[in-house]
C-alpha cells in the first residue's frame, strides 16, 4: 500500500531512490544506509553516490547504461531489508564546534528565540547542548544541514532574505541548523557564529564533515571566539570517532 520508496531517473545523469515525501528521521537514515550499501557493493556503472534529505542518488550515465536493468537491481536491494529501520552507517565522527551565540556577530538569536517562544538564555542553554546529525550536505561545498532539533525550533524561515551572512554563520529554521560555507544570502535566522570551515580546498581532506556525522555547539564568549578565529585550529573544533 505504500508509495515509497520511489525510484526515478534524473535526466540522463542517474537514478534517485526517495524514501519519503518530506524530511523525517527514519527516511534520512534509510538514504544514508542505502548509499553506504551501494558504495560497499561498488557497482561498476555507478560513478558516484550522494544523499539528500530523504533520498539516495546514483550517478549513472543512462546514455550508455540500460536503465531498466539498474532499476531491477535497485528494487532487489530495496526489498532485501527494512531500510527505514537500518542503523546509521559506520565511520561517523562527533564534532564539538565552539560557537558564539548572539551579540552583534549573530544578531538574530533574540528574534529566533522570540519566534520559538523561549527567552534568549533558555534558547542558548538548549542549543549549546543539542546534538544534531548532518542530514545532508548541499547548497555550497561541505555545507551541512543538521537536525533535528526539538519541536521548539520548528520555526519557519523569515519572510525576507538576510542579504549576507558570513562564512561560519550558524543559522536556524524548521528544526535544522546550517553552518555556512561561503558568505551568502539566506532566509534562515543567524543565531550563532563559528570560526569553523566546512570546506578547505587547499587541504588534503578538503571537506570537514560527512553526512551522518554528529555535532554539538558549545557556547563560548567573545574573547574566546576572537582567539579561535585568529588561530589555525579550524575554529577550535575537536572531533572523536563515533562508530
Amino acid at each position: 500500500m505504500t508509495d515509497w520508496p520511489q525510484i526515478r531517473t534524473v535526466g540522463l545523469s542517474g537514478i534517485l531512490v526517495t524514501f519519503a515525501a518530506a524530511m523525517n528521521e527514519p527516511a534520512n537514515r534509510a538514504a544514508l544506509a542505502l548509499r553506504a550499501a551501494i558504495d560497499t557493493q561498488d557497482w561498476p556503472e555507478v560513478t558516484e553516490t550522494s544523499t539528500s534529505l530523504v533520498s539516495t542518488f546514483l550517478a549513472v550515465d543512462l546514455a550508455t547504461t540500460p536503465v531498466e536493468a539498474m532499476k531491477e537491481r535497485l528494487e532487489d536491494i530495496l526489498k532485501s531489508r527494512d531500510w527505514l529501520a537500518a542503523p546509521l552507517p559506520q565511520g561517523r565522527t562527533l564534532w564539538h564546534v565552539p560557537t558564539l551565540y548572539g551579540t552583534d556577530l549573530a544578531p538574530q538569536l533574540e528574534e529566533a528565540a522570540q519566534v520559538a517562544g523561549v527567552d534568549p538564555d533558555a534558547a542558548i542553554k538548549e542549543l549549546c547542548t543539542s546534538r544534531v546529525r548532518v542530514l545532508t550536505i548541499g547548497f555550497a561545498p561541505g555545507q551541512p544541514y543538521m537536525g533535528e532539533l526539538s519541536e521548539t525550533w520548528n520555526i519557519p524561515r523569515q519572510t525576507g532574505l538576510t542579504k549576507s551572512v558570513p562564512p561560519g554563520a550558524l543559522i536556524i529554521a524548521i528544526k535544522q541548523l546550517i553552518i555556512f560555507t561561503n558568505a551568502a544570502p539566506t532566509g534562515w535566522r543567524h543565531i550563532g557564529q563559528t570560526a569553523f570551515k566546512n570546506f578547505r580546498p587547499d587541504q588534503p581532506n578538503p571537506f570537514s564533515l560527512s553526512p551522518g556525522d554528529e555535532l554539538v555547539f558549545p557556547a563560548i564568549d567573545r574573547a574566546t571566539f576572537d582567539t579561535l578565529s585568529a588561530s589555525d585550529t579550524n575554529g577550535g573544533a575537536s572531533s572523536e570517532v563515533l562508530t
Binding site: 531517473t9 535526466g11 539528500s52 536503465v67 548541499g138
Partner: protein, 344 residues
C-alpha cells in the same frame, strides 16, 4: 624556465576551465568545468592532445596574451575577432603563437563563451584533481591582467589545422527528458512549455540560465512543499516566479524547486552558447530517443580527431606573404611582385 602565457589585458569573466571535478557531489560540490564542453573536446582534437587539459574560458569578451616562447594555440567556442601581432587568425583552428607575439581576442560574435587552448595545456596546480575554477564553490577565481600562466611540455608540432564550426551557436532547440517532478505539472502547463518561444535572459551565468518569455509562468500545484532533492546540470528548474532556469555545471547539488525536465547533456553547449535574447525552444524526447541522440553526440566527439583538416589559407589575407616559401626558387625571392602597384 618553462614556457608561459602572460595575460596583458583580461575581459571581465575569464577563467581556467577543463571538464570539471567529478566525485564530490555528496559533499556539496558540483562538477563545474567548461560551460561549453564540446569546445574543450574540439580544442583537444585541434592540438592532437588529451581532453584533460584546461583552456581559458572567456565569457563575452577576450583579452590580450603574450607568449614567452613559441607555442601552439587553438581557438574554439564562440567566435571572436582574433589576431596575432595584427595578423587575423581563423577561428576553430590551431595556430602558432611565436615567442614575444601578442594574441588579441575581441568580443564574442555568435555566442557567449570563447576558448583559448595551448599545446601542452596550462600547467597550473590542480585542486582536487582539476584546474577548473569553480566560481560558485569558491575554488580558484577569475583570471586578471598580469596573470602569468605556465604551459606544460607540448608533444605535438602540428598547427594550422581546423574543424567545422558546429551549429550550437545562436540558440535553437534544446531537447529534454522527463525528470523528477515532470508529472507534477499539468498536461496543459507542460504542453505550453514545449510550445513557448523562449529567449535567453540576461540573468545567466555558469550556475544557470534564465529563460525569458511572454505569458504566464509554469507553476505546479505542490511547488512550495517539495523536499529538497538532487540537482544535476541540465535540469530545467521552475523558480518561484514561474520562469524556467536551465541549470549549468556550477549549479547547486540539491534544490527545492520543481524540475519540469532535464536538457540532454549534448544540448547543454547550445544552451550555454545562446547569447542574451537568442531564441530557444524545448523539445521533449522519450528516454529511448534521448539515449540515441546522446550516443550520436558521444560518437561525434570521439570522431573529432579524424575530422581535423589542414587550414586552407587565403594568400590575400597573409600579410607577410613573402616570408613563406610559396614559389620554391622558381623566381627570385628577393623581387617583390607587389612593388608595381599590385596590392594584395
Amino acid at each position: 624556465m618553462t614556457a608561459h602565457l602572460t595575460i596583458t589585458q583580461a575581459g571581465p569573466a575569464m577563467s581556467l576551465q577543463d571538464l570539471g571535478r567529478p566525485g564530490y557531489r555528496a559533499q556539496g560540490l558540483t562538477i563545474g568545468g567548461a560551460a561549453d564542453t564540446t569546445a574543450i573536446h574540439e580544442g583537444a582534437a585541434l592540438l592532437g592532445q588529451s581532453t584533460s587539459h584546461a583552456a581559458i574560458e572567456m565569457a563575452g569578451q577576450g583579452g590580450s596574451f603574450t607568449a614567452s616562447a613559441d607555442m601552439r594555440i587553438a581557438l574554439t567556442g564562440a567566435e571572436m575577432a582574433a589576431s596575432v601581432d595584427g595578423e587575423t587568425l581563423v577561428w576553430n583552428a590551431s595556430h602558432l603563437l611565436p615567442a614575444g607575439g601578442t594574441l588579441q581576442l575581441g568580443g564574442t560574435r555568435n555566442g557567449t563563451y570563447g576558448y583559448l587552448h595551448v599545446g601542452g595545456g596550462f600547467a597550473t596546480p590542480t585542486v582536487m584533481g582539476s584546474r577548473a575554477s569553480h566560481l560558485a564553490g569558491g575554488i580558484g577565481g577569475l583570471l586578471n591582467a598580469g596573470d602569468i600562466l605556465p604551459i606544460g611540455p607540448d608533444k605535438g608540432t602540428e598547427v594550422a589545422m581546423t574543424l567545422s564550426k558546429g551549429d550550437r551557436f545562436g540558440g535553437g532547440k534544446l531537447r529534454f527528458v522527463a525528470s523528477m517532478q515532470t508529472a507534477s505539472f499539468s498536461e496543459d502547463s507542460f504542453d505550453r512549455f514545449t510550445r513557448t518561444a523562449f529567449r535567453r535572459d540576461a540573468r545567466a551565468n555558469r550556475m544557470g540560465i534564465r529563460m525569458d518569455f511572454d505569458g504566464e509562468g509554469f507553476n505546479t500545484a505542490g511547488q512550495l512543499s517539495i523536499v529538497s532533492e538532487v540537482v544535476v546540470p541540465g535540469d530545467i528548474q521552475i523558480s518561484g516566479d514561474g520562469a524556467p532556469y536551465v541549470l549549468m555545471f556550477e549549479c547547486q547539488t540539491t534544490g527545492g524547486y520543481p524540475r519540469i525536465g532535464s536538457v540532454l547533456p549534448c544540448d547543454l553547449p547550445r544552451a550555454a552558447q545562446a547569447q542574451t535574447g537568442a531564441p530557444l525552444t524545448f523539445e521533449f524526447l522519450e528516454m529511448d530517443a534521448a539515449v540515441a541522440v546522446q550516443n550520436r553526440y558521444l560518437a561525434d566527439l570521439k570522431s573529432l580527431k579524424s575530422r581535423v583538416t589542414p587550414l586552407v589559407r587565403d594568400p590575400a589575407r597573409i600579410r607577410d606573404l613573402l616570408s613563406y616559401q610559396l614559389i620554391s626558387g622558381a623566381v627570385s625571392a628577393s623581387t617583390n611582385p607587389f612593388e608595381k602597384g599590385q596590392k594584395p
